[in-house]
């Protein structure tokens, strides 16, 4: 321990700390300046950026003693002492450049370093400067355009927020405004789970298998239990209740007892006085394994001799065979003049939310004064936070499911467990399954202390479910004049070791596998399989991102064969009002696909349009794709949300209201959407409505934040609860008025029974302008033209944020991202090995909003959160084809393989980056 002296945010700091500490750790833990976030501890993500003597540095690997005597500045310095917001903070709000907010302090501090330097040099800040300065400052939510515009504005330039044209707003609904929680995020005061510190809190770590398939012979934790500072070591023997969890099927052990099914499996958990001690304890846990043969391929998994992941299951490694059929494909293909038959491969993909998973368990009866402290945590308005029951603080997409699953493991009733939603640093589907929630609660009860379970980035990569890797064979037939006659497809989805949401995700992949087209004859078989790979689950696009790649690649090939314009071919077949979907659903309203296509086509063809041309050694080309995505759970699942709205008269501010619902905000802008619905109904400004999300004791269940459902389902619930409050208000004199409304989405039909499988679909068309360096095979997306049919734009600012972010996420899917596993062992074990798109990859985006209102939607709105992440990748590979004549069949595009194909004058590339084997041969139907 030595003396460290620095100036932090203008004030002298003098602390005695270990010389091995990092600056981020001192700032966050010792100085409690938790505005500085940490995301990777690898100097990769940039969210921990602070200024040291005015220079941006990544504080996660910056030795604290390197800052000896230095002037350190963090986000907390920007708006101190009620001095109002810094220009950057205001600009980030104005431009909607804040979504989940975990990267926001880092982006702002990096930008401040740039603006201060440019101001000192007397130079004007340009977009090029901003891209260079933020090259390694990642954001997973925005598409960076809003960030660039915000920084330009903050530098004193007159740059208005980019807002697509939308319908005339209502009084409150339909107006662009920052997400209400964004203010705290730009100030660094928004509290993510890891920002909480409870008196007496312990730190937890998990012993992972790190081998993909094995029998457990024995587990010996005795040495770990004896390590000084260790307060508890738990194994499967210490799980009082159900030793399993799962959102759909309960097949995932809380702590493994007899078998390991993937490398991320948990064997034991430790709570100790510090993270370091907990980590040291893990090394003392002895597990004796008998390693088993590994199955790591979705198709090989169905071979009769394949090792079985869950031997007790009746269907071997088959998790589910999902079938869709319409008409007669034999007849359909007989009527076709042209048939395209191709097999595609998509990679396992990682959400890379920039906030790794973190849960804090607090034991029932916790009294902070026992540890000489108090805790200032979330509570319902006007109430003190209590911990009279087991409580879990977590940023989760499904708080009620977390509660119920934790209760089952703890052998408690659901009502005896409380989940409090903290600010979530991104989710994208990756925070639907249980991560450390149950473990933190078990350890809290075992130690009678609060326990924080924070995953490292590397652990996060290892453990949580990913986007399904898929192999898709697809055959598409059409008549000479371009009318689709038949689609046949067989899909294999790698579900990994546990069910997670595989069944639901792959059902969506299947039912969307003929695209947003009116096709009379369709047959699709999808096989979801268990393997020893990382589980696969929900990820923005939910299976449709994968099948869309195959559908839209085939459509362009078909257009080529037919000599038809790709836009025209899609127009001829697009779903419209009066069409019937592949599952037999008659489209009665809100089908904006043709308008999306027309808007994109017009924008793309403005000026001197060509599909491709040369610029020096680069070849440029446009490519186009369309897509669609259901709103809501559908398929007969009960889809409901309950909202509570309370209104009261404030002597100074007039009528105020609070909306309470357990739905999740992960950066998408839900609080603003719900506030505007309540405000509209109550006739008050949106700013007069506060929104409390996700405390299971005070917020009724809004259902899972998945399936692009919250604006629609929770939105309707809030709207109707607010309407009930509004009705009661005239009679209320001085007292608060509270109303709840349980909203049920229109009934849907299970797959295979015909009728309405979904309450609605949203539609999208996107065109990508790509440049291909013909000397290197490098691909850059220069521009995206997009049109999204969202029913109704509720908040154009946050809507545009979802669109831009979704597009850039899908650019990553096409060009940069592949979570690589080798025989069940993740090669992608550090963030440096998984590159999401950075600011250098972000194109300019021209965005059009199409508003074909949905009569059952709140103000006509339907879901759209996943929609932008669906057609971008085939739009890009279609552009690559138009530029080079090479059809890319595996993602992500590998420049090495692409250049080889270009030089060999080949017509296709079978290998994506990270693929070691050719695409396996797939038989249609694939009876096993």
């Amino acid at each position: 321990v030595s003396r460290l002296q620095m100036t932090v945010n203008g004030a002298p700091v003098d602390v005695d700390v270990a010389e091995s500490r990092y600056l981020s750790d001192i700032l966050r833990e010792d100085l409690r300046l938790t505005g500085t976030k940490t995301g990777c501890a690898e100097a990769e993500c940039g969210i921990c950026t602070v200024l040291v003597n005015g220079t941006p540095v990544v504080s996660c690997i910056y030795p604290a003693f390197k800052a000896q005597g230095a002037n350190v500045e963090t986000i907390e310095n920007l708006s101190r002492d009620g001095g109002g917001l810094h220009a950057l903070q205001q600009a980030f709000l104005d431009h909607g450049a804040v979504q989940c907010g975990i990267c926001t302090p880092g982006l702002i501090m990096t930008a401040k370093g740039l603006l201060d330097r440019k101001a000192a040099e007397g130079e004007v800040v340009t977009e090029t400067d901003i891209r260079a300065a933020l090259k390694d400052s990642y954001c997973r939510c925005t598409g960076y355009q809003s960030v660039i515009n915000a920084i330009l504005q903050a530098s004193g330039q007159d740059v208005p927020p980019y807002l697509p044209e939308t319908r005339t707003p209502e009084t409150e609904v339909g107006r662009p405004r920052p997400n209400p929680i964004a203010l705290a995020k730009v100030c660094g005061t928004a509290r993510f789970t890891d920002d909480y510190k409870f008196p007496g809190m312990l730190y937890a770590r998990t012993k992972r298998a790190n081998i993909p398939h094995a029998r457990i012979r024995s587990i010996d934790v005795s040495a770990a239990r004896e390590l000084e500072g260790v307060r508890a070591v738990l194994t499967h023997e210490d799980v009082p209740g159900r030793n399993a969890h799962g959102v759909v099927s309960v097949d995932w052990p809380v702590l493994c007892s007899s078998k390991i099914r993937y490398a991320g499996d948990a064997v034991a958990i430790v709570a100790a006085d510090s993270q370091e001690i907990a980590a040291a304890a893990l090394d003392l846990i002895e597990v004796d394994y008998e390693e088993l043969p590994v199955v790591s391929d979705a198709i090989a998994a169905l071979h009769p001799d394949a090792p079985l992941v869950h031997p007790e299951r009746p269907d071997g490694n088959l998790l589910k065979h999902i079938k869709v059929a319409k008409g007669d494909v034999e007849q359909g293909f007989a009527a076709a003049d042209v048939v395209v038959d191709q097999t595609y491969r998509t990679p396992t993909a990682e959400h890379l939310f920039l906030e790794p998973e973190c849960s804090i368990g607090v034991p029932a009866g916790y009294d902070p004064s026992r540890f000489g402290g108090v805790c200032d945590v979330l509570a319902k308005r006007g109430e003190e936070a209590r911990h009279d029951k087991t409580t879990i603080y977590v940023g989760s997409q499904i708080p009620y499911a977390d509660r119920d699953q934790a209760a089952a493991a703890l052998a408690k009733q659901p009502d005896d467990v409380r989940v409090v939603a903290t600010v979530m640093g991104g989710g994208f589907g990756g925070k639907e399954d249980i991560a450390g929630q149950i473990h933190a609660a078990l350890l809290a009860e075992a130690t009678e202390r609060p326990v924080k379970m924070l995953y490292s980035r590397q652990e996060s990569l290892l453990v949580h479910p990913k986007r399904h890797a898929m192999i898709i064979r697809m055959r598409t037939g059409a008549t000479r004049d371009g009318k689709l006659t038949a689609v046949e497809a067989t899909l294999y989805g790698d579900g990994g070791a546990y069910a997670s949401l595989s069944e639901k995700v792959l059902t969506r992949a299947t039912t969307h596998a003929s695209g947003p087209y009116d096709v009379a004859n369709v047959k699709v078989d999808c096989f979801a399989t268990y393997t020893n790979n990382v589980p696969a689950g929900a990820f923005r696009g939910f299976g449709v991102t994968q099948s869309c790649f195959a559908v839209e690649s085939n459509m362009d090939m078909l257009a080529g064969e037919l000599g038809l314009d790709p836009v025209e071919l899609r127009r001829k077949n697009a779903l419209d009002v009066g069409s019937t979907t592949v599952t037999g659903q008659l489209m009665r309203e809100s089908v904006g696909l043709l308008e999306c296509l027309n808007k994109v086509d017009t924008d793309m063809r403005a000026g001197d349009f060509r599909w491709s041309w040369d610029e020096g050694h680069r070849r440029l080309a446009w490519g186009l794709a369309v897509g669609y995505k259901n709103t809501g759970l559908g398929g007969g699942a009960p889809d409901k949300a309950t909202a509570e709205v309370e209104a009261w008269q404030d002597p100074a501010k007039g009528l105020l209201a609070e909306v309470r619902i357990s739905s999740a905000e992960m950066g998408q802008g839900l609080p603003g959407v719900l506030a505007s619905f309540a405000a509209e109904e109550l006739g008050i400004p949106t700013e007069s409505v506060s929104v409390l999300l996700g405390d299971t004791d005070v917020c009724p269940d809004g259902g899972p934040t998945t399936a692009s459902r919250q604006t629609f389902v929770s939105g309707n619930a809030v709207r109707l609860a607010a309407r009930a409050v509004a009705r009661k208000l005239p009679g209320a004199t001085g007292s608060n008025v509270v109303a709840q409304h349980e909203y049920w989405a229109p009934k849907t039909q299970p797959l295979g029974t015909g009728g309405d499988m979904h309450v609605a679909f949203s539609f999208v068309a996107q065109a990508a302008l790509c440049e291909i360096d013909m000397r290197t095979g490098e691909v850059q997306v220069r521009k995206i033209v997009a049109a999204h049919d969202v029913g109704r734009a509720i908040n154009p600012l946050t809507l545009e944020g979802q669109i831009e972010g979704g597009i850039v996420m899908c650019i990553g899917y096409a060009l940069t991202e592949h979570y690589i596993q080798e025989d069940g062992k993740p090669w992608t074990n550090v963030m440096a090995r998984y590159k999401m798109p950075g600011i250098m990859h972000s194109p300019s985006i021209s965005s059009h909003i199409v508003e074909h209102e949905l009569s059952t939607g709140p103000f006509g709105a339907k879901g759209m959160g996943e929609l932008p992440s669906i057609p971008t990748s085939p739009a890009i590979t279609n552009a690559i084809y138009n530029a080079t004549g090479v059809r890319v069949r595996s993602l992500p595009v590998d420049q090495d393989a692409l250049l080889h194909a270009i030089r060999a004058e080949a017509t296709e590339v079978e290998f994506g980056w990270g693929d070691r084997d050719p695409i396996p041969k797939v038989e249609f139907g694939g009876e096993h």
Binding site: V57, K835, H900
Partner: protein, 294 residues
């Protein structure tokens, strides 16, 4: 999560730094920014060190100086400082370009050229730039200091000849390119994971009209250590600077190395194609910067 090091020293003199190294006898590590070493340490890829010796506070080594025909860079100088230094941009262009693509801006703000060279990776971008310029490094030890050509400092992949028990890299220098000299650098990357270059190359040319008088070429990774490609450079000397001659240099380079396919990074064929494509391009740029009219 065990501490990656115990003691953190930031000595203000070379003598003090050397004394600390001797005291820890090989169990201390010198860092500049620490942006490579500490990431590895934090990931637990390295055994914990007894001590870190931060070389960036050594007095007199934090600046870029001109000394006669040399530009001398102290070991505490960051990549960002090098990239922004007008003298290096002009008289050591390929070094400036190489340092400019290392890591991201935050890493370049603290990472040093000295650290890049001492780390001795097969394709350190700053190292490749310095190598083409014929740069040298100053190594200080208890017996005094010595200047060693950069190309002679590599002992193997990630291993420098600097004796970590008793030596420290204190300064780097290169001769300013004259009016008839120019240099250029290029790196080929991929946008996916694995932030390692597919190929980095630098070249320096001295011209007389359109005739190459002297040449220096460097590249990596083409072997265990960065390669000072003398055979390729020799092909150019005394010859006219033409595309054909530059392509010949690439051919000769390829004859002298064994390229490898490295998993998830590049195939042997791709590396070969990139050398054939970009060596002529950077040679052309260097020749133009040297005043040749190509």
């Amino acid at each position: 999560l065990t501490a990656a090091w115990k003691k953190y020293y930031a000595p203000e003199t070379v003598a003090a730094a050397l004394q600390i190294l001797r005291r820890h006898d090989g169990r201390a590590r010198v860092i500049g920014g620490g942006t490579d070493l500490l990431v590895e340490a934090r990931r637990g890829l390295r055994r914990p060190f007894e001590a870190i010796v931060d070389a960036t506070r050594i007095s007199g080594l934090g600046t870029i100086e001109e000394n006669g025909e040399y530009i001398v860079i102290g070991c505490a100088v960051s990549h960002t400082t090098i990239v922004n230094d007008a003298r290096i941009v002009r008289f050591g262009t390929c070094l400036s370009e190489g340092c400019g693509v290392i890591g991201g801006p935050q890493v370049r703000n603290v990472g040093t050229l000295a650290g890049n060279v001492a780390h001795a990776l097969p394709a350190g971008d700053g190292t490749i730039g310095l190598l083409a310029l014929g740069g040298e490094v100053e190594i200080a030890g208890s017996d005094g200091t010595r200047w060693v050509p950069t190309k002679d400092t590599f002992a193997g992949p990630g291993r420098s000849i600097i004796d970590r028990h008793r030596e420290i890299l204190t300064r780097l220098r290169f001769k300013r390119t004259a009016d008839n000299e120019g240099s250029a650098f290029h790196r080929v990357m991929r946008p996916q994971g694995l932030c390692l270059p597919i190929i980095s190359m630098a070249a320096r040319l001295q011209m007389e009209g359109n005739i190459v008088k002297a040449a220096g070429i460097s590249m990596g990774p083409v072997g265990p250590v960065p390669w000072f490609a003398e055979p390729a450079a020799d092909v150019l000397v005394g010859k006219a600077a033409t595309q054909a001659q530059f392509e010949k240099a690439a051919e000769v380079a390829l004859e002298n190395i064994t390229l490898r396919t490295s998993k998830y990074r590049a195939t042997e064929e791709y590396r070969e194609a990139m050398i054939c494509t970009y060596l002529p391009i950077i040679l052309t740029a260097a020749a133009r910067r040297a005043g040749a009219e190509l």
